[in-house]
Amino acid sequence: MLMTIVRGVLRQARRHPVYVGLDLLGLALGIGVFLSLALLVRYEYSFNAGLPGVGRLVRVDEHWTPAGVVPLEEADATFHALPFLRQDFPEIEEALRLLGTTFRIERDGKFTRFDGYATDTSFFRVFGIGLSRGVADDALSRPDGLVLSEKAAMKAFGTLDVLGRRVELNRSGERSAHVVTGVMRPVRGPNLLANTEMVVPIPGEEERTRSCFQYWGSSCGEVILRLKKPEDIDAMRARMRDFVIRHASGAENDHVAIGPHPEKMYQLLLVPLRQTHFYDVNVEDSDDGVDRNVVNAIGLIGFLALVLACANTVNLATARAGLRAREVAVRKTLGATRRLLFVQFMGEALFVTTIAGVVGLVLCEILTPEIASLTGEAVTVSYGFVLAVLLVVIVLSGLASGFHPAAVLSGYRPAAVLAAARMPSGGRGAARLRNSLVAGQFAIAIAIIICTLVIDRQTAFMRNADRGYEKSGLLIGQQMRGSDPVLQRRLLDTLRSVPGVVAVGFGELEPAPHSLSHTIYQYAGPNGPVEIQMLFDRVGSGYFEVYRPRLLAGRWFDPMRGQDEGPDAGNLQDGTGSFNVVVNAKATVKLGFSTPGQAVGQVLTAGGLKARIIGVIDDVRFVSPRDPVGPEILFFDTLSRVPFVNPIPAVRFQGVTRAVMAERLNRAWTSVTPDLASNFQPADERMAAFFTGDERRGHIFTVGAVVALLIACMGLYSLAAFSAIRRVHEIGIRKTLGASGGQIAILLLRDFLRPVALACVLACPVAWVLMRSWLSGFDQRVSLSPLHFLIATAGAFLIATLTVLGQTFRVARAEPARALRAQ
């Protein structure tokens, strides 16, 4: 039997090399793309799965819901809560603080950067990480301990035998001496520690001084809990509100607490680490969030590619079945049973899909690294998974593609076939099946193309959209540490004297801000009091010239006017003083002004602090295009009285290239603060993280669109070729009756394109719904223009036409006499 099957397939391949070739290639392509995307999806879904006992690991999130603002969830939680958590929840086996830190090792004036954490000694126990050098329990017990990842050890020293080596680490300007106490093994699969290169104990100094260790409501890192039992989480969640009331409440002026009723605006949430990857899309301060819908969409594309390819195989197999009718009739006449024939054709289909599967596996090998580099994910081909999936795919697609032809073929009545003058086409049913498959294929391809176009437009739009400030000629520097006015003034002076620099200014916010601080302001409006939460920024002289925001009403700060000078830390904390401020357009809207001009001259209050609006600027977008720009309040600071807190310097330049300018600025910076690595970047680079995710996934969609269209066209091509052969005779008759070549070509084209037209009708509404919901996730977005739909459908028609045109012309131009003889 096996030999009969193999021989059958080989004979087919020799008789119809084009059909069999296209069939195989399409299926292999579909399987290859499916496998690669399945690997990608598996990768995304397996985030943190490789951490031993991950089911018991939980992150504590802070959820803020102050009155009048969009609720905000942060992946960071105050470290101040940790002892109370331990004390109140016996379910906690172990707890851990993760203070994300950038380390630099300086050698010969050059900085090598390492990412990692300052953390607790329980780090290795909680995450179940083994050390290949050193002892896990002791590694972080001495304050100058340092554990490197194996990769980092190689990067820093070129060897893994680094125990006892002394290193000086530079953490944003602060130097500390360390001794290497361990080297940790990597954790299998994607996880939150994948990029962790260095781990050190939390410095006692920070623990004593930083507010996130001492106050409720201030956070700078993540709190991770290891529970005794995974199911404990529900019981803990139920008690969390009481926990917050018990520990975070205090008097109105108690800075450690969050007011008398913290539970009204503050919640602690428990997020299993296994879920954070998808969960974090909507969480601040977490950078590895991925939209689960997008991952599913990518999986769906892979699956659709496979479905398309299978549809092709079904299509071609049924079409080919007609050509084999005579063979079947003869076999039956010679005594073959229906069952035997069914088994034979089924076997042939399985054999073909197996070959396609093997080719698909090779394609997967080639595609996966490409897709990995497109998405920036470290996806690799894992054979256990791929082979298991491949087996299922081969069997299922083999059965799917073999069933219809096998049933049709084995069902032919020999007398009818042998008596018929011409080859049966499988009847009207088969023709309808073929057309609906082509329509389905093109519908999928067109829908993916529309989505690709929209995603493409949106990602391009996000990059280039107006952000309310002038991006070109602007470089933004590294955030400074602390509030030393002498150092701040010296830096400004030094940067100002660099040739090419037009203006220099400090701000406390930057594109892609690291931290946002909000304050609630009241306005006694004509329609009653309004209370809104506003983002706080302190800007210096020169800021306006550097960023060039658009002034909509009133005036900008003037260093010559003393009353423009902003508050100091004491004013802010105690709520005292009266100051001039500039607000953004969004703030005027939220405050209820119908024009920016109306806001000018009005006074906002926060406790006893009075803020008089002297000017309104257009919204400046430092946040992701997904998020709305919030109301913002700007205070002025000439550095004459009040120092900035962790200011970010920015520079407007002219007359030199960006690279040269950045180079000069970096040099100037080093002469002022040699300990802090300088990092002058254009705004777009700062914001890159906001776009790259969507752009990368956009690439996947493009790949999917191309593959889908390719497979669909392969299907249409072979169908056209087959149909052309079958219709040669009919065309001969029509031409004898006076049809011109053009009329025949149109007739054929219309037949071939009818399923494509149907596909457009099916695809457009689906793509519209999908893309509308996707776009709704962006605050700054393109409108869903009919143009995308037109382009996609016109493109599909054009490509489909080109695909069948050759066949059409060949048939349309054939001499009728020859065609009629061909029967």
Binding site: E730, I733, L737, G738, A739, S740, G741, A817
Partner: protein
């Protein structure tokens, strides 16, 4: 003279072999004639008919129809010529399987851009003429050979062509059906159509006004039947 063929030659070249289907045809046909072409199998009768019907091109010689030289016309002009002037009855019916009898007949008018109502009227008339009106909605495979042949004739005459070409229209039929078909053709000829018919049946040939005998791609005898 409606049709005049001079020095018509048709060679078939395939790789090595060269077949001469028509060697040197000299033939004139008057309007209103009924010509029967006879000859042994393979002598070139079908080829001649195909050339008359312009669905095949001669490799040499000239073919003029109503004073117009057809060998010089392009594809589109020939299609138009067929549309306006020609009715073709094939030896093997050549009805399109996927269309009903009615639709098959209508096909001959569709390419003329005739209004729908007019087409309906003519199709009904043609079907009446050959007596298959009761089979209008059937598909060719549901009809007997004789009925299919009559449908093919209806399709040939529905456009009221000046020239009807029929390749062995009675070849596949029994005596009775054959006689019916001859009857239809004679009637059409009486109504003014010029007919060229290939046949192997001497008795059917005798029903024509003229008989042309062919041998090895040449016309050997052309005689007028006494009526």
């Amino acid at each position: 003279m409606l049709i005049s063929l001079s020095h018509i030659q048709r060679l078939y070249r395939s790789d090595e072999v060269e077949t001469t289907a028509l060697l040197d045809i000299e033939l004139g046909i008057e309007a209103g004639e009924f010509v029967a072409i006879m000859g042994p199998s393979g002598c070139g009768k079908s080829t001649l008919l195909n050339i008359l019907g312009t669905i095949d091109r001669p490799t040499g010689g000239s073919y003029s129809f109503g004073g117009q030289e057809l060998t010089e016309l392009g594809e589109a002009a020939l299609a138009a010529f067929r549309r306006e002037n020609l009715g073709y009855v094939f030896q093997s019916f050549n009805l399109i399987d996927e269309l009903t009898i009615e639709e098959n007949i209508e096909l001959a008018l569709i390419y003329r851009r005739m209004p729908k109502a007019e087409r309906r009227r003519r199709v009904a008339h043609a079907m009446d003429h050959v007596g298959i009106a009761h089979r209008a909605r059937h598909y060719p495979s549901q009809l007997s050979g004789g009925q299919q042949q009559r449908a093919a004739i209806a399709r040939a005459i529905v456009g009221e062509p000046r020239l009807i070409l029929a390749d062995e229209p009675t070849g596949n039929l029994d005596t009775e059906n054959g006689a019916q078909v001859m009857d239809i053709l004679q009637r059409l000829n009486d109504e003014g159509a010029t007919i060229v018919m290939v046949t192997h049946s001497p008795s059917h040939a005798d029903l024509a006004k003229r008989r042309v005998d062919m041998l090895d791609g040449q016309v050997v005898i052309s005689v007028r039947n006494a009526i």
